[in-house]
């Protein structure tokens, strides 16, 4: 039983890809952000257990979790049905609704419908890309198809190409885009959201030993959601509270 092991060993090791401000990122060598604060509220429940957060790129996160190099993934994962099949995704921690980012001062784009004829970008294989493709299909039906969809291994590169003018809009989840706008308001501007609501989760293994830990983490997140802590932290990190349900919408 993993939860028991953590308690008896006194260490809880989690993997993080600390490249996703404001969820998790590095400041002065420390992993900080929304998820770090959340963990600070959770850890007292594991009395005396030490938290070790490893930072590693996405390619290392999944094998690390599967090979039990760490116990849990504390990195914001957009919840999709495919992912739910393979891992245990936690109770939602934040709103991941898709939004659109454009170059600051770009006049032609004021709402999601205006991106017809433009070049749009998203991270390769991401949930955001799926949403973008759905939007593209709608636009095509409406007779204003996208000029092109470009994909990038990291979303940072997509932002960079928005700067160079090779792409006109970047699709990502709203909190992240808002952070981009806040950090470099001279370059970026958020257009607005589209599509169904989507949520961020954390993830654990789907094996029997992990069941107790998964349940424990879900419990804790729901507790913090109910007592308003989540909203407080959302206010702090995203600038506004979000409407996050207690459980993920069931996968069809």
């Amino acid at each position: 039983d993993l939860l028991e092991t953590i308690k008896s060993d006194g260490v809880f090791t989690v993997g993080t890809e600390a490249r996703y401000a404001p969820h998790e990122f590095i400041e002065d060598g420390e992993i900080v952000g929304y998820s770090a604060d959340l963990m600070e509220y959770i850890m007292p429940e594991l009395d005396g257990v030490e938290l070790i957060r490893m930072d590693l790129p996405w390619q290392g996160i999944l094998p690390g979790l599967e090979r039990e190099r760490f116990d849990y993934v504390v990195t914001s994962v957009t919840a999709t049905p495919e992912r739910m099949q393979r891992y245990h995704l936690s109770a939602p921690i934040a709103d991941a609704t898709m939004a659109i980012l454009k170059r600051a001062g770009e006049e032609e784009i004021v709402s999601p419908e205006d991106i017809g004829g433009k070049v749009a970008a998203a991270q390769a294989g991401s949930a955001q890309l799926e949403a973008l493709e759905a939007l593209a299909a709608e636009l095509e039906e409406a007779g204003t198809p996208l000029a092109d969809i470009r994909t990038y291994t990291g979303v940072d590169e997509a932002y960079a190409d928005l700067g160079t003018g090779r792409v006109d809009v970047v699709i990502n989840s709203l909190p992240n885009l808002l952070e981009a706008e806040r950090t470099r308001p001279d370059v970026f501007e958020v257009v607005g959201t589209f599509g169904e609501p989507v949520y961020f989760s954390w993830a654990g293994r789907r094996d029997e030993a992990s069941a107790s830990l998964n349940a424990f983490m879900d419990e804790q997140i729901q507790r913090l959601n109910e007592d308003g802590t989540l909203n407080e932290l959302q206010e702090k990190w995203f600038g506004a509270p979000m409407n996050v349900p207690l459980e993920l919408p069931a996968a069809e």
């Binding site: 990122f25 990291g154 950090t183």
Partner: protein, 218 residues
């Protein structure tokens, strides 16, 4: 770019230190093992040559990313626990050994056999001949491609972040995603890599100049 360097230099320096420790250890070990493997590859015996060839093919032929994952995640399966940094050094060593052996092999083929015969006639054993007559000359003969390889390893060490070793490249990624200024950040990282590599190239050029005293070809 300057701004990035100024604002974040403590973490950048820390990442650079990790990069240096890992890659320099791998290079030093690789010099020894690469030379051994080169002799294995040029052995008179097929049963020595063949496994050496297989080793070289694998470690030269597969992406470092995969090699890192293999060493880090499969070694524990057979009961060997390795810390991330050890796994990183180990992987890079295994990798550079394959590349360095090829470089040394070409150098060995270039030593006139007469010199080796002279050594054998003086009673110097095959092994000592390699160590004292062949290797020093091979080393200076292959210094340029060897420097290439050393620098390549230094840069390839940027992949070890995949097993949770935070080196220079990972630090820059972290900064880039914080500041939303990837171009400037990577430029700053480039300056640091460049500085180290220039230093290495300098040392190599210096060695090369010093060693032309008695260089085979001049």
């Amino acid at each position: 770019m300057l701004e990035i360097l100024l604002n974040h230099y403590p973490v950048l320096i820390k990442g650079l230190t990790t990069t240096l420790v890992v890659s320099l250890s791998a290079i030093a070990l690789g010099l020894v093992f690469g030379m051994l493997l080169a002799f294995g590859l040029t052995s008179r015996y097929r049963w020595v040559r063949w496994p050496c060839g297989l080793y070289r093919s694998f470690w030269r032929g597969t992406p470092i990313l995969l090699q890192l994952l293999l060493v880090y995640y499969l070694l524990p399966e057979i009961g060997i626990e390795v810390a991330p940094i050890t796994a990183a050094i180990l992987t890079l060593t295994l990798n550079t050994t394959a590349f360095q052996s090829e470089i040394f092999r070409s150098g060995i083929a270039h030593i006139p056999t007469g010199q080796i015969e002279a050594a054998r006639m003086a009673g110097i054993s095959a092994w000592q001949t390699r160590r004292r007559i062949v290797m020093p000359q091979v080393f200076r003969l292959t210094l340029p491609p060897l420097t290439n390889e050393i620098i390549t390893i230094l840069k390839n060490s940027s992949l070890i972040s995949v097993i949770a070793v935070t080196e220079l490249m990972r630090v820059s990624e972290q900064i880039a995603s914080r500041t939303f200024q990837p171009l400037e950040t990577y430029l700053a990282a480039a300056v640091l890599y460049l500085a180290v590599n220039l230093l290495l190239a300098r040392i190599s050029a210096h060695l090369e100049r010093r060693m032309t005293g008695g260089l085979a070809t001049e």
